[in-house]
Structures are given as C-alpha cells and as structure tokens.
Symmetry: C2
Subunit: 396 residues, 2 copies
C-alpha cells in the first residue's frame, strides 16, 4: 500500500560515517550500547532468579532487538512483549514462549490467535468478562485454544483486578466457559518507579508478591489451575527478599538501566549500558552553554528524573570514553539541539569543549531514548571500536 | 553492515488490519492525518506570505514526508531541514533548495558539501570563526563553493550572534576569506512558543524582524552581500504585522498544528490535522479511568501544555469522527498504555466507552507525536475511508 516514488535522483546519502568503525568517527547523534555492561546487568538478575528457581521472562519493550534478546537467551526463551508487532518479530526469530502483557482488544485478540495458530505459545492478558468472551470467540474462529493471564492490580497503578475483587472468580469462570486456558495471574508493581528508599522498595516487592500469591490462591481454592504466578518491575525484581509462591519474574529496563533507575537506587551510573553520542555544534560561554546536536529527537522527551531527588535534565554528560563530567547535564532540548550546562547550584566549571568535540549522554529513560533510534552501535569498555550494529524493531 | 538473521520462521505478521480501508477497521495505535485540515493550514500561511512577497520556506522537521511537502510545493520549492538525512531524503525526491538550519560540525560540513557537489543548493548555518574556516575547508575538499547563513540570536533562545555582536562582521569576513558565499542571516524566535497573549506575540514577531534586519544592515554596511533575511517560528509567522526588510519566512508545525499551538493561540482545535487513533483495552469506572492502547510510545513523552494555562495531559480525546469529548484528556501514559480521565475540576461525565471502542487523541506537540510513527493514515473530513498511506522518513 505504500507509495513508491519514481523520481528519486542520484543524491548521495549519509556515506561512510554512519558505518564508522570507531566511536570517534561515528556520525552523530547515535545510540551506543556497551555490551559488557549489558551482559553484566543480564547476569545480575538472571543469577538472582536462577538461585531461587524463578523463571526470568525479560520484557523486550526496552531493547526491541533480537541481538539483545539472544544475550539473555542465546537459543530462545520466555519473553514478555507489549505489542503484537514485537511478538511477531521475536517469534520470527525463534522465540516461541511469549507473554503479551497489555490488555486485550478485539483486533489484538484475532492477531494473537494467528500467532497461536502458527505454533507460538502466546499468552494474553485481560481483566474483564467481555475480554474473556471475546478471546474465546477469537480462539474458536482461529481453531486454537487461547491461553490468558488474569491481570492483577497490586498497587493501583494501571489495569487489573485486586486480589479480593469478586470479579476475579467470575473472569476465571468466564475463561473456562469460553474455552480459554488460564495461564495464571500477572501483576506489575508500577508504583515502585516512584520510590527511592530501600525499605520502601522491599515493601513494594513484598506487596507485589503477596497480592499475586493471594490471587492465585483464591483461584486455586475455587478449582482453577493457576500454573504461573508472574510479577515484575525492575525495582522490585532487584529489591525482593522473598519469592515464595511466585513462579516467574518480568523486568525490562534492567538490561540497560538509566538515570531514573539510578535515582530509584537500583543501579550505579556505571551500570547504564546505553548512551547517546553527540557533537558540539556551538558554544555560548557567556551563558555557560555548550550546544550539541542531540535534542529530544535523539534523547526523547522523557523527563523522568524531574520528580526525583536529583533532576538530571535531559541526561547526564560524559566524555567519549564514558567518564562523567561532574554536574554537566542537558538542561534544555529542542528537536535537534541540546544545551549542556552545569547543574544549578554546582560549583563545577564548564568543561572546555569546542566545535566538533564529542560527548556521551546517559539517558533518563532507556526505553524512551532507545526508541528514538534505528540501531545500537555496540561497543566494549576500554575500546574505541564499534563491534557490531544491532537493528531495533519498531511499530505496532 | 546490518546483520541478517538466517532463522526467520514462517510467522504471520500484522495482517490486513494495518492496511485497513476504513478508519473503523484500523489497527491501533495509528497516526491519522486529515488532508483537508493540512491543505487549509498550508494555504493560510502561504497566502499570507504571498500577499507580502515573502518566500515561504517550510520546515520539514514536523512532517518528514515527501507527500506532505508536495501539498505545499507540488513540484518542489524552498524548504528547511534540521538533519542532513532529511536534506538527502528531500533532495532525492526533487527538492533542491534546502536550508539546513542547525549549527555546523565537521562531519555535517563534509556531508552537506557532498550534497552541494551533487547539484543541491544546500545552505548551512554557523555563528563562529571556527565553523567558517571548517566549512571553507570542506568546500575546498569537495571542490564546491559553500553557502552559509550567519545565525542571529533574537531572543536568547539557543544559538547565534546578537545583531550588535562584533563577531558578526568577523564571521562574515572569515566566510569571505574561506571562500564561502554568505547566503544571508537567519533567526528563529524560539521564545515565542512560551507566549499566549496576542500583543506579546506581535511584539515577538516584530523583535524577530527588527533583529534580523539590523544584522543584515550591519553586514551590508560593511560591504557584504546579504541576499536572504530569514525569520520564522509558527507563532511569529502568524502574528507578524510588518515584514519590512525580510525576504523569507520559515515555519514547520503550522502544517499540522497541535495543542501547544492552540494554547499559544495560533490555531483552534479544529485546525489540528493529526491525531492518534487508540482502542479501549480496559475500564476502571471506580477510578474514573478508561485505559487505551496509546501510551507515550504512540503519543510521545511531550508535555508541552503542562506549562500553559490549560494542561492537556498527554492529549485531548475525541470520538472517531474527530468530535472532542469535553475535558476528557490522557492523564497518564506508560509505554503502551494511556489512561483517559476527565480533567481535574471539571463536572463532565466520563463517556461510556467499552472494550474495543476507538477514540482519536489530539497531540500536545505534532513534531514529537508524528515522529513516533512510521506513516500517516490520510483521511478527509466526513469520511471513514483511509485515502492514502504516506510514509515518514527518520534518522539522522
């Protein structure tokens, strides 16, 4: 259906700098991924979960990359997605155990059932009688038996039924009646993103666990099988002290981390695996400004740290090797311009960066920043080489 | 350099709902463009400028689409871009008079000169001696004569030299010495976005004009040709009362308009040409919430209206025909979830929308929202038909 233009003329495109072999030669703005940090972040949570016999089902909404997924599970494994375009993409690349963790609508029910018909173990999410009936009809139309989680609300963050809601058993009964397999219960402690005290994070994780286990118990007591008890958010996954009764953990941003997660207290800035390389395109020493070619199009409009104790503007600035310039942040962003300045109240001096100098910017929110880019330029600590370019998928 | 995966299996993709012939059948979230409103917005500014003999050089950072560009100039015309990827894209599609209105760096100088070598009249932007020398070197290396604007700062918004800065003449002399043609002066009243009173907007437009004309006069008095005197922002372009001494106007978001521009007072909500179609995926009547499948990935993280008199959340909600639900806004957004609720303080009732119902969401910031999508689903007022799908370009 897309138009094809017939009048393309012989105009050069970006040329070799987009395929640069070294960080220093890279055309900017560009997204970097430090593979060593990625691997360390992946190992940290997977070893924590493996030690307790909990399935780790990474959420691919952050990375949106088969290459990143394979660092977690080299030959496929359980994953979470938030769009069916991701489900289709990861299925096409060999991941066959997929939870689509966004509430179901008629068009997504039909589309998910096409995947199920193709042999993918896709599990969907719902919290209402209407959705249960709709999913049953979509399964019958496709000639497959659907599998669904009931979404549980543990902290008032978004969708789902509370563990004590009488509708819980009604939805389970509706699923059974509609010929849908109950996959289990699924909850997400979304409110944990707003915390920063370890004790509060431990309590949020315990609440998430307790609510999910209570919901599963209610269902089982009523005779429903409830094989999976799934919880997860990056903060609670790292602060949980008790996983009793759970079978699986979901998390996404833990792969890359970001300044918001640093503000929550889940990671150090040295754990943040992605950054945006930018070039200085102007200086305004009289204002204390350095202008770079990374604006909100490269960094995203996310200002998640504005509600935290330390506001990082649109990102924290490092030199090209990744060393942080103390208190140098992106204070303003327009579409393709970022303004670097020393954080208000700091006595640090503005670094001496002239036109053409390059910096790296740590993002507020890895999911949002990465989604502004087509691919990851993959680097390793201590090397200037671009080791690989990993494409990202997008769309719905 | 991109990896090709060898193990793609036979998994279905989105299927026919992404190519739906009608609005009602469209898979969501999806970006809509009302072509009638687009044409009306284009005509409004172009007739205003034509009446005064001013060249309109639309900024393509908002639309990023050759099909939209051709509604403004069917067989090509003067345009503005903010990345060289856009310059290359529009040049490939027949637009040959292009201003790249972001400060120059060494890698962009070389890349722009490749376009110039291919016969494109690309004009670049700078405000320093270093950039003048760098551009001269890039021109010599490519065997072309570069053409550059000196960026003028009219309101302290971003880059550029003030009209009275002694560096203005020094940069002009450096350009001459480096063998660069002076295209003229260029300024942008970026601070006008924060205004909302007509008198203040008229004053901002007059200031933008006066500063640009003063800079041009200084250059001309010193013997420099300064053929183009270019100003522009969507608010000042629509509020200017005197264009004396100017030769061209730039604006971008005026093609689509958005809720921020509505808050500034440049347009009505009926002028807003793009919207995001979303589907209801959950209801929480006890909280006054309707959950839809458009989160910040579909709407962008832009919260530009938060600083205005009326905060529109992440967008203002309409029915599928485009009629606004009074005071229904997107109050919260996560990656793929939006929460619709009645604006705080309003006595309006939550509309009765159940699972599967569709709505349209007017965006805060058209540039940011459109950039989250691959294509425009083009519609006309009063019709349910998708008339065309226009791809968008992206990247740098």
């Amino acid at each position: 259906m897309l138009r094809v233009d017939m009048d393309r003329t012989d105009i050069p495109d970006a040329g070799s700098d987009k395929a640069a072999a070294t960080l220093g030669a890279l055309a900017t703005p560009a997204l970097l991924l430090d593979r060593d940090r990625l691997d360390r972040n992946l190992a940290r949570l997977s070893s924590r979960m493996a030690a307790q016999g909990i399935v780790l089902r990474p959420h691919m909404k952050t990375a949106k990359s088969i290459d990143v997924a394979r660092r977690a599970y080299p030959s496929g494994g359980p994953i979470t997605v938030s769009t069916l375009a991701k489900a289709e993409y990861f299925a096409q690349h060999g991941f066959r155990d997929i939870t689509y963790a966004v509430g179901l609508a008629p068009h997504t029910a039909a589309r998910a059932m096409r995947l199920r018909k193709a042999g993918i173990d896709i599990k969907v999410l719902l919290d209402s009688l209407e959705q249960a009936a709709m999913l049953g009809a979509a399964g019958r139309a496709a000639g497959v038996t659907p599998s669904a989680f009931i979404e549980i609300d543990c902290d008032g963050h978004r969708g789902g039924l509370t563990a004590t809601d009488p509708k819980l058993l009604a939805v389970a009964a509706a699923l059974a009646e509609a010929g849908v397999k109950l996959a289990g219960v699924l909850t997400h402690a979304g409110e944990s993103y707003s915390l920063s005290m370890p004790a509060a994070l431990v309590a949020a994780a315990e609440n998430e666990r307790a609510v999910a286990v209570a919901a599963a118990s209610t269902l089982r007591a009523a005779g429903h099988e409830c094989p999976i008890v799934s919880v997860g958010s990056t903060p609670t996954a790292h602060f949980t002290e008790d996983l009793t009764g759970l079978t699986e953990m979901r998390a996404g941003v833990y792969m890359f981390f970001d300044l918001v997660m640093h503000g929550v207290g889940v990671c150090t800035t040295d754990d943040i695996a992605i950054s945006v390389v930018a070039t200085v395109i102007g200086t305004k020493p009289e204002k204390g400004w350095i202008v770079v070619d990374a604006g909100w199009m490269a960094l995203s409009r996310d200002r998640g740290t504005s509600a935290q104790r330390v506001d990082q503007g649109y990102g924290l600035v490092c030199d090209l090797s990744g060393k942080i310039y103390p208190d140098l942040i992106v204070t303003q962003a327009s579409q393709e311009h970022g303004i670097l300045a020393i954080r208000s109240g700091s006595a640090q001096a503005l670094p001496d960066l002239s036109i053409g100098a390059k910096v790296r910017i740590l993002p507020n929110h890895a999911c949002a920043t990465a989604s502004q880019h087509e691919l990851y330029n993959v680097v390793s600590a201590g090397s200037d080489a671009i080791r690989a370019r990993w494409p990202r998928m997008r769309g719905w």
